[in-house]
């Protein structure tokens, strides 16, 4: 199989193996008839996903023993269903809001060998929960509105308006969207590309999933607007493999756009340029959310971040000028051009204009997507979603920040909290070390392994955090942990390694009591440790 793939694409067998090895969802073995991936994000763990895995394992044990090719129970990083935790995927389909009853049901269906198409629909039912609407989500955006605006005004004016709106990328980094588009527009050679980054891999984030399932037309509008402005004729939606179940409806909505003349060849007659969008699936790699890694992946390689500069707007997909933006960014751009930036500019703060979508999950009564104007306090958000006795929140996913109540007065925005799209809530009954440990494991697993600071650093952090969790870490080692994180911040090749230790530093600095309780205070009880370390040798001598 591998050899035939290598022949077909004229690449060495080693390269095919390297790619299989890199992506979590690729394997050189045949998939089991039922391949389960349980999401191992902390939010799923808090909702007892481990017990459910055990339950399913027990129920299916005899089948697995008999024929391992029938069932595989696996875990994977967050699958973008933190508002439906605990969740899993089976052969790519979502199993949201699992509980012991539904696990029983699933076990029964698997035991019967029932094909997924004949499973009851309620098992796969993902409910969209948009809990708060503001500027963007209250809007009606008819197809083509921003494109007609482009037709009247021209690219230069569109870029000016976008610049005046001060829109910044909603994928996390907050880069000025107009600057990015302009830089690509200014390139005069090569074929240009517009790429939407829908590799929403940051654990706890699912707002892009909701936009893709509810407002995909807005996204196509934003991508087409970008293509019109920068002069691109080909677009890609890089969709994370975990969202593959959205593919049929996304393809349908693309087709509707083609049929109604807002995409494809028909655009040429209507607006004088041609543009079409192709959906490409990822294969389970968090790092592919980094734009240059995404480009590599799109080109069919391992998703290893490129050295920048040159930036994608100059040398992107196939080394051609490329705009890569997040789902929400394209949608915001289309909305701003359709409705004008005045009302957008009235919302937000000095450096962060407009609104943003937040994925809220964890210990609250109403998890879901919330749209807030920048400038809202964490405190207000917690009260809106019905979160009590909050011990801490993680804003912006594991690479963001862990905040304690002393920081709940901080406000959304690039000034303080970054361009974070998610908020995970932990109440007083949660163990923060479990939370940070979970994040540290996540980064160790997802590090692409290309640069040493990140590859080794994430593993060192993981080891030390585990020891802290087991109350084995001593005071002086805390300093080593901190040094390791700082080194990664300063010397990692890309954002993954640079931000992998953020929550560790937050834990050490903002939750000193928690850390103090975790430190090895028995003193250096080396005698007890030694007894333990000698146990195997003692046993051997006795026997």
């Amino acid at each position: 199989m591998i050899v035939s793939i290598a022949n077909e694409y004229s690449v060495p067998v080693s390269e095919v193996r390297a790619i299989i090895d890199f992506y979590h969802f690729l394997s050189d073995k045949k998939n089991a008839d039922y391949h389960f991936y349980f999401s191992n994000n902390i939010i799923d763990k808090m909702a007892h996903s481990d017990l459910l895995v055990l339950q399913l394992g027990e129920r299916l044990n005899s089948i697995i023993q008999q024929d391992p090719s029938r069932v595989c129970l696996d875990e994977t990083s967050c699958i973008g269903l933190a508002d439906h935790a605990p969740a899993a995927l089976v052969n790519g389909r979502p199993l949201p809001a699992l509980n012991p009853q539904s696990i029983e049901e699933v076990a029964e269906l698997v035991a019967l060998g029932r094909p997924l198409d004949h499973w009851p629909a309620h098992l796969f039912q993902v409910r969209t929960r948009i809990c708060r609407r503001s500027w963007l989500l209250n809007m009606s955006l008819p197809p083509g509105e921003s494109l007609l605006s482009w037709q009247t005004k021209g690219s230069a004016t569109i870029l000016q308006e976008l610049q005046a709106s001060q829109l910044r990328g909603r994928g996390g980094a907050g880069f000025a969207t107009a600057l990015k588009w302009r830089s690509c527009e200014e390139q005069h050679s090569g074929e240009k590309y517009v790429i939407c980054n829908a590799d929403e891999g940051e654990p706890g984030t699912f707002k892009d999933r909701v936009m893709l399932s509810e407002h995909s037309d807005w996204l196509w509008e934003g991508m087409t607007l970008c293509a019109a402005t920068v002069g691109a004729s080909k677009g890609f939606l890089y969709l994370r493999a975990e969202y593959a179940y959205l593919l049929p409806q996304l393809e349908t909505s693309l087709q509707v756009r083609r049929d109604t003349g807002w995409l494809g060849a028909a655009l040429k007659e209507r607006l004088g340029f041609e543009f079409d969008i192709q959906i490409v699936l990822g294969a389970g790699a968090y790092i592919c959310g980094e734009e240059s890694a995404l480009l590599e992946s799109l080109e069919g390689k391992r998703g290893i971040p490129r050295i920048r500069p040159p930036f994608p707007t100059i040398s992107g997909y196939l080394r051609q000028p490329t705009v890569v933006n997040n789902v929400e960014t394209f949608i915001h751009a289309a909305a701003i051009i359709s409705k004008g930036s005045d009302s957008f500019l009235q919302l937000g703060t000095t450096q962060s204009k407009g609104t943003q979508l937040l994925s809220i999950s964890g210990d609250c009564q109403r998890p879901g997507v919330y749209e807030y104007a920048f400038g809202e306090t964490v405190e207000q958000i917690l009260s809106d979603c019905g979160a009590d006795e909050v011990q801490a929140v993680q804003i912006g996913g594991p690479s963001g920040q862990l905040l304690g109540p002393q920081s709940f007065h901080l406000t959304l925005g690039y000034e303080a909290l970054g361009g974070s799209g998610s908020l995970m809530i932990f109440n007083h009954r949660r163990s923060l070390i479990e939370v940070v440990n979970n994040f540290t494991n996540f980064f160790a697993f997802e590090s692409c392994g290309f640069c040493t600071p990140c590859r080794v650093g994430t593993a060192l952090n993981q080891r030390m955090l585990t020891r802290l969790h087991l109350k084995q870490l001593r005071q002086h080692e805390i300093q080593l942990l901190e040094e390791s994180v700082r080194l990664m911040q300063n010397s990692s090749h890309c954002g993954l390694g640079q931000s992998a230790g953020n929550s560790i530093l937050n834990l050490l600095h903002d939750f000193p009591e928690t850390v103090e309780q975790l430190l090895n205070t028995i003193g250096d009880d080396n005698e007890a440790r030694l007894v333990q370390a000698l146990q195997p040798a003692v046993q051997l001598r006795k026997s």
């Binding site: 002086h476 080396n526 000698l534 195997p536 040798a537 003692v538 051997l540």
Partner: protein, 180 residues
Amino acid sequence: MSKAKLKILTSSLAGCFGCHMSLLDMDERWLELADLVELVRSPLVDTRSQSRCDIGLIEGGLCNEENIHLLLEFREQCKILVAVGACAINGGVPALRNRYSVADCLEAVYLHGLNVTQPQIPSDAELPLLTDKVYPLQEWVKVDYSLPGCPPPADAFFQLISALHDGREPDLNYVNRHFD
């Protein structure tokens, strides 16, 4: 007037003495060092002083109970403890056994080894018990400085000792910490 001589302790735990060889490799610079330091406890000298030392240079990781007892003693005895070489810092070559159990290791050598005529796992009470795995020093005690290398170059020892003698923060130059 010159400063008091630094009291130095050296030891090789689960190491190969290669680092000690490198220490000796300072050649004539030992004459210079002789004015600055005094070896009070070391395999290189006959004395075995139990008195407090300024610097402990420890080569090798920890593979048995004796290693650990000694290390804990050295930590007590020394103001500054230095992990010398790859084994002390990371476990090094002896730590290759960490992927096997103690029983597997001993059985492979003493029961199934080549030319073994009376297969038995040694159990003399005099023999130190092996630890479950080979540990680097910092997993058991606080380590103040590390001298990287396998072995660290003689010059690295010299830079470290002279800096500590002069009360400067040791700073190895590039030549002494790159091995490519």
